[in-house]
Symmetry: C2
Subunit: 257 residues, 2 copies
Amino acid sequence: MDKLFVVKIGGNVIENSAKLESFLQDFTALKGFKILIHGGGKKATEMADKLNIPVQMIEGRRITNEDNLDVITMMYGGKINKNIVAKLQALNCNAIGLSGADGNSISAVKRSVKDIDYGFVGDITEINLNLFLLLLENALTPVCCAISHDKNGQLLNTNADTIASAIAKSLSNYFEVSLWYCFEKNGVLGSISDEQSVIELINPKTYDNLKSKGIVNLGMIPKIDNCFDALQNGVKMVKIGSPKMINVNEAHTTLIL
Amino acid sequence: MDKLFVVKIGGNVIENSAKLESFLQDFTALKGFKILIHGGGKKATEMADKLNIPVQMIEGRRITNEDNLDVITMMYGGKINKNIVAKLQALNCNAIGLSGADGNSISAVKRSVKDIDYGFVGDITEINLNLFLLLLENALTPVCCAISHDKNGQLLNTNADTIASAIAKSLSNYFEVSLWYCFEKNGVLGSISDEQSVIELINPKTYDNLKSKGIVNLGMIPKIDNCFDALQNGVKMVKIGSPKMINVNEAHTTLIL
């Protein structure tokens, strides 16, 4: 099977133009099929502030009312996505930007209200496999922003980590898929205060051990659970690390079954 | 040859959600291949005002500095484009939004500075025929915003009328192309103050006559010149009128050779 890299970048790359440029060069140099997924939450918050639109976060999650959704659509779907695509084109990577509405690439349902009303937030129901296959087979590189749609005309703010994992899983029957999460740390750390303490390999057994010792806790648990879910659903390998892990032997965490 | 409709909508449709909804229903009902092109200048100006970014217009043309380009990328490429695409998806039209950078669909060069420095404004050099053919052949409907790119990472603000005409011409070897300009009038008017005075048919001979009598003048001359240029380069038919002309026998102006 051909290799496919599904790479998710977070805010710390997007916000720094030198880091972004360097990352995009490394991404372009990856040999194989590839898909890029990005968010841009901090940039969206900055724009909301400029427009005097209040931003409400609950447990790190954005409450997405109509005004906030507009800001997200402008920033994720517009400014950030189009500039990444233009920069990739300059590197001879034939990128094509997508929201979930474009080509019906990512369908979702608006999250139902239980304790908290998250507003226009989507939980993914379907990845349009045929669209991604069509684009990849024609040497196009999809660049997906963190927006889905409900097929009834409503755009929905959707977690970029989850989009990356859903796309990776859905394509795993067709490609040997590697899913790479690039974030602000060098990987899963043995000691939170020591950037050099990267845990190189985690499998379900060592993960249990790390959790029982309290080394992996809080926000990292859902992140790693999400990675194992991808591995259990056909994804070959998951990596967590800094954007630099892409092309050099930079320290990072590899997760396997 | 199969029919292809290249339809350009202006600000007056985009700014009014009821008009837009009605137009998109008519557009979806068109039988044949289709491409939609939109601008959104007034919405971009409103957003620039909210962000305290000065907008400078010279002879109806926007001077596009970096801040204005950002606003255009947010509005044309983001908010307007993604909402149109989501609304078309709800109508079962498999739309895919594109800036000129996406799939390298529209290349351009930054306009050289002569008397006036227009800033980040692009003059089209190439339409990516293969991309449009790929999308159309796979039942996707491209929705293009008024942005091109220079292949070196720079997005460029580009006139939507010109994009529509360039796309229509480039596809005329493969389809029987109709190019429709929807704007705020019912067509080319015999008397500017009378919306009922639509001139139904204009050919080069009657056009000369209309110009010599001063009936067609000012801003309409470059618009109509642009239409005849399209006709002379393979486009089968050009129509100018209100968005309603699409599906009913509403008055409009047809231009033919």
